[in-house]
């Protein structure tokens, strides 16, 4: 079995459907059935109306880079072999933002507002991470 050495997400009980989705290569976010607000990251209660009536919806997996950084030094120890790597905040077309990595292009090509598309990277049998690559 592949030996994944970087930190794995510490899961909360209500986020399991998100990670199940990633394993199936689907990017899911919560939608409140009462107020229709999208929630990400997954919440126990809707952050807009505190309803527990949250459902999961599949996103387009498309979005744009809000901001980004390429890490050259002082990275967390486990990421030493990845330097330089790109960390980015991506805003999905559904309006929510997520921290992620941009992969599939040289770091200096990443720009604010760049269109990106989700790509799934398997870390372990249980965890697949949602990352992004330049769209189209």
């Amino acid at each position: 079995m592949m030996d994944y050495k970087k930190p794995l997400p510490k899961m909360s009980p209500w986020s399991a459907p998100f990670w199940d989705g990633c394993r199936r290569h689907e990017l899911l976010i919560q939608k409140c059935q009462d107020c229709e607000a999208f929630n990400f990251y997954p919440k126990m209660y809707c952050a807009n109306c505190l309803s527990s009536n949250l459902d999961w919806v599949k996103t387009s997996g498309l979005g744009k880079v809000y901001t980004h950084m390429t890490v050259y030094a002082y990275q967390p120890t486990e990421f030493t072999d990845d330097v330089p790597y790109v960390v980015a905040i991506v805003e999905l077309d559904e309006g929510v933002r997520m921290m992620t990595n941009v992969v599939g292009c040289p770091p200096d090509e990443v720009q604010c507002e760049m269109r990106v598309k989700v790509v799934f990277e398997k870390a372990t049998d249980e965890i697949t991470l949602a990352k992004f690559k330049p769209a189209g």
């Binding site: 930190p7 909360s12 809000y66 901001t67 390429t70 002082y74 967390p76 905040i89």
Partner: protein
């Protein structure tokens, strides 16, 4: 709404030098700061009825001692102090302590409050501190797995800010130059050598738009200040410093969830604080701005209304925030030059505002300063606080 105005005053302060002092116990920094503050104010120590230590990161046991009233015992105030309690908001603990103290005194629930901070992040084991600050405040499920860490906050804000405003990296780097200018005049500062923009930019690139010299340096330090009633302040030796307005906004826990990393909560916090104080940006004589990374003072100058959107970089590069400039900024050198003592970085900025308004800032004294703003930010720059302080009663 601003019932506290005219009822509360800051009457004394103390501070130990910031730097790496492996043989100076954290308790020694706290006691020295408290003693200085008491002597500076001229208040009798038995008048202190509340001790408010803020949090310490380097040693959980020491932090617990602070929560469990060790200072009350050390200062010989057993049976006299009514409340010992921690008020802790990370880097914004300065504003949080002053806000809490002001409220307690106005409500008559306390009369004289000793606020104190000390930490030892500079001589704690380096790897431990790096790991601590790499993980604190970063959502473990949603941000840590992608290699994000606290040291990346400034880079993320800077890149977006440059995209939206056209500000250059050179302009951002000039904030460090301004901080070093002031630190050169500050005997309590750690990094007192002046730097040029070129020297800042040519240091090692750590992340996009962020070099080594644009990072803060962890240090050991301590500071204290005393808050009491404006009535009591009349008979004391220092010119009283009055809190005139408070404003704050918490804008994220996880950096990815902030709606605007180029403004944060400063526009709203400033509006609130100015309305309470009855001032406008034009009335400000000194801007004691919390830094951490050089992008934040630019965002703050704009949020405070001192600069128009997108003009703060030019304003700083053109030396307006230097000694003798139009708007003296962070006159102790901030965390980029005095040193970052965890929650103490912000407390040092507040203490500097008090020092300036009392006219006790020595070589870096801003002559005739009557109104200062103090700002602070905690965690991953999660919150934005603005406090207006004045030399005169409203």
């Amino acid at each position: 709404m601003a019932e506290f105005k005219g009822k509360v005053a800051i009457v004394g302060f103390g501070e130990v030098p910031t730097g790496k002092f492996p043989n100076r116990p954290c308790l020694a920094s706290a006691l020295e700061s408290c003693r200085q503050a008491i002597l500076d104010s001229g208040i009798q120590k038995d008048e202190i009825d509340t001790i408010m230590p803020t949090g310490t990161f380097y040693d959980r046991r020491y932090n617990t001692d602070m929560v469990f009233s060790k200072l009350v015992e050390e200062l010989g105030l057993l049976g006299k102090v009514k409340t010992n309690m921690q008020v802790f908001a990370g880097g914004s603990s300065s504003s949080a302590m002053l806000k809490t103290a002001t409220g307690l005194i106005t409500a008559g629930l306390a009369k004289t409050i000793l606020c104190v901070q000390s930490d030892k992040t500079g001589s704690a084991p380096v790897q431990e501190m790096i790991d601590l600050f790499a993980t604190f405040g970063i959502p473990e499920e949603w941000e840590t797995p992608y290699g994000f860490f606290m040291g990346g906050c400034g880079s993320m804000s800077a890149t977006r800010y440059m995209h939206e405003t056209g500000t250059t990296h050179e302009q951002i780097a000039s904030v460090v130059v301004s901080m070093r200018k002031w630190a050169a005049l500050n005997p309590n500062a750690m990094l007192r050598r002046e730097l040029t923009v070129e020297e800042v930019l040519s240091s090692k690139l750590v992340a996009t738009n962020q070099t080594t010299r644009e990072g803060n340096v962890l240090a050991d330090g301590g500071a204290a200040f005393i808050v009491t009633t404006a009535e009591r302040a009349k008979d004391l030796r220092n010119p009283p410093v009055y809190p005139l307005g408070f404003g704050g906004r918490v804008c994220h826990y996880g950096v990815s969830q902030d709606k605007d990393l180029t403004r944060l909560g400063f526009p709203e916090a400033a509006k609130e604080a100015y309305a309470m104080a009855g001032i406008t940006a034009k009335d400000i004589d000194i801007a004691e701005i919390y830094d951490g990374y050089p992008i934040y003072p630019l965002i703050t100058l704009e949020g405070l209304g001192i600069c128009e959107r997108g003009e703060a970089g030019h304003f700083v590069l053109e030396r307006n925030t230097w000694p003798g400039g139009k708007m003296p900024m962070t006159t102790n050198g901030g965390m980029l030059a005095q040193g970052h003592t965890a929650a103490g970085g912000g407390v040092a900025v507040l203490v500097e505002a008090i020092r300036q308004l009392m006219g006790k800032a020595g070589e870096r004294q801003v002559k005739g300063a009557k109104i200062a703003v103090e700002t602070s930010m905690g965690g991953t720059f999660m919150d934005s606080h603005v406090v207006v302080l004045g030399r005169e009663l409203p």
